[in-house]
Subunit: 304 residues, 2 copies
């Protein structure tokens, strides 16, 4: 079994109330890959520029992440610069330089086409669909998107959703996509458009999952401070898909556990800049925090 991810690779400069990072390794596909690599082999498709530091490639290879789909374009790597205030739920973009990412057209190596778990990180929906269609035997296709595509490529996004099993977005995106202020109604609408599962990320308020008529509410881990929320959503998706890819059967039990693993990875990642916290993370840390999530949300049933 293996996991394919397509998405951005970036050099991020970030300011938070706790400090700053300059041109640190980032990007959706990178956060996803690293988080998923705790569970399984990952195949990464993305583009970097001529200026991309070799040490970052060594880091990813050291995690058993297959870089056969990594393209090196002419020009500089995608750069994002942002700031978070004390309300760490909201990123203020200071500067975006798309560079080689602007004309990114994902090329899937033949050796990647048999991937059974596919994650389409936030890129143009038409490109997402092209990737999905190249997978020869996918078990699960999951995808992310953002307000930019919901507003600017709505029809194409709706078309892509027909090929998607699991949509992983935040609550504002779910409401905007369905054009419906009630999140529960929005979810019901979206599940009629293709995905069988909708995973709604709510930052410090945890995750809501809709699957058929069932709803699962996962708590967020109560951190004293969120140091840097950059990449939290993609780290969540990496832990989620990574765990799912180890399961014989993709049923609701597995999906609920996968949401807790995703939340666990994300809760670690926001404790430091870039991938710094994940770099020192061990599988036992992950299992311990999974158990803490259980204590956090547990209550006894009432004897009837």
């Amino acid at each position: 079994m293996s996991i394919l991810v397509v998405g951005s690779i970036a050099l991020d400069s970030v300011e938070t109330p706790f400090g700053t990072a300059e041109e640190a390794l980032g990007g959706a596909a990178v956060y996803f890959s690293y988080a998923a690599s705790f569970f399984n082999r990952v195949r990464l498709v993305g583009v970097i520029g001529e200026d991309f530091p070799e040490e970052h490639l060594r880091l990813l290879e050291g995690r058993n992440i297959d870089l056969a789909g990594l393209e090196r374009g002419h020009g500089n790597t995608f750069r994002w610069k942002g700031r978070y205030d004390y309300d760490l739920n909201e990123a203020h973009t200071l500067d975006t330089q798309l560079n080689v990412f602007e004309t990114f057209a994902p090329k899937i190596p033949d050796s990647f086409k048999d991937s059974d778990f596919v994650f389409l990180a936030n890129i143009q929906p038409g490109l997402q669909l092209q990737v999905a269609e190249q997978a020869t035997s996918p078990r699960i296709i999951a995808c992310d998107t953002m307000n930019f595509w919901i507003e600017g490529a709505y029809d194409q996004l709706r078309e892509t959703l027909k090929s998607v099993d699991i949509l992983i977005i935040n609550d504002a995106e779910a409401r905007e996509l369905a054009r419906e202020p009630s999140l529960v109604k929005a979810a019901r609408q979206i599940l009629e458009w293709g995905p069988t599962t909708l995973v709604v990320k709510r930052g410090e308020f945890g995750v809501l999952m809709f699957h058929g008529s069932s709803v699962f509410s996962a708590p967020a881990y109560p951190l004293e401070d969120v140091f840097d929320p950059t990449g939290a959503g993609d780290t969540f998706a990496g832990g989620f898909m990574g765990y799912l890819s180890t399961q014989e059967e993709i049923n609701e039990t597995a999906i609920r556990q996968a949401i807790i693993f995703g939340s666990t990875l994300a809760s670690f990642n926001v404790e430091d800049f870039s991938l710094n916290r994940m770099k020192t993370l061990e599988m036992q840390d992950i299992l311990d925090r999974f158990a803490e999530f259980k204590l956090l949300s547990h209550f006894e049933e009432i004897a009837s």
Copy 2:
């Protein structure tokens, strides 16, 4: 065992995107009493005006709520008028007429002084303390407050908290009270000031409970529409204290279950104006929804 509540009794006029209510029965002590009455006898201390409709008194008496502490003042009953937009988390106050509530000084009948569960709804902190001090053998004293007292009677509120076991407030109030943007740090601070348990209400995002070093995250029930959120917090407190008052031992297991019962009652109450939904509620409905909360938050542990 019996439960004492001190707080407002009101006639509320409410506009929501779904309709309007005119001079409907409301007030913190009323919502609390009705919700708690599903579990135990309730003793209500509050003030009404000469214009207070008799039918509301009959309704409360019919729930076995003891009105010996109900004072009838000279003038009109407290009136509140508010509006909610599609973001039903925020109430916009259109008009407040304190009337007889302006000079409310709670008088606790001798027959109420042996109450073992005491809820101090949102009134002036000095009055809350006076009530707490009149309870001869309290097992649990819980209280609510609001930004108005945090800003205008801070020292008095801190003094009152020394006599409080359980503080039940919303997340903005917790942050403002502790003067600390991190909710987890704010909670730790507040628990040094008297209460052994802090219950933080987060509206559509559920409840966080802090008790010693333990944290409990309870989900909110995923409603399609919140019809009218007025009274949700006091209904929560009523269900919470009502269930607690049935328990031999007030330990964390009981407190967590009480939070789910409080959430259950509140989730019903917001389905209609005033106390309309609670009026038709049966204990079996409550137990069924408690079980739904279990399904909503359950996930399997990982076999180690």
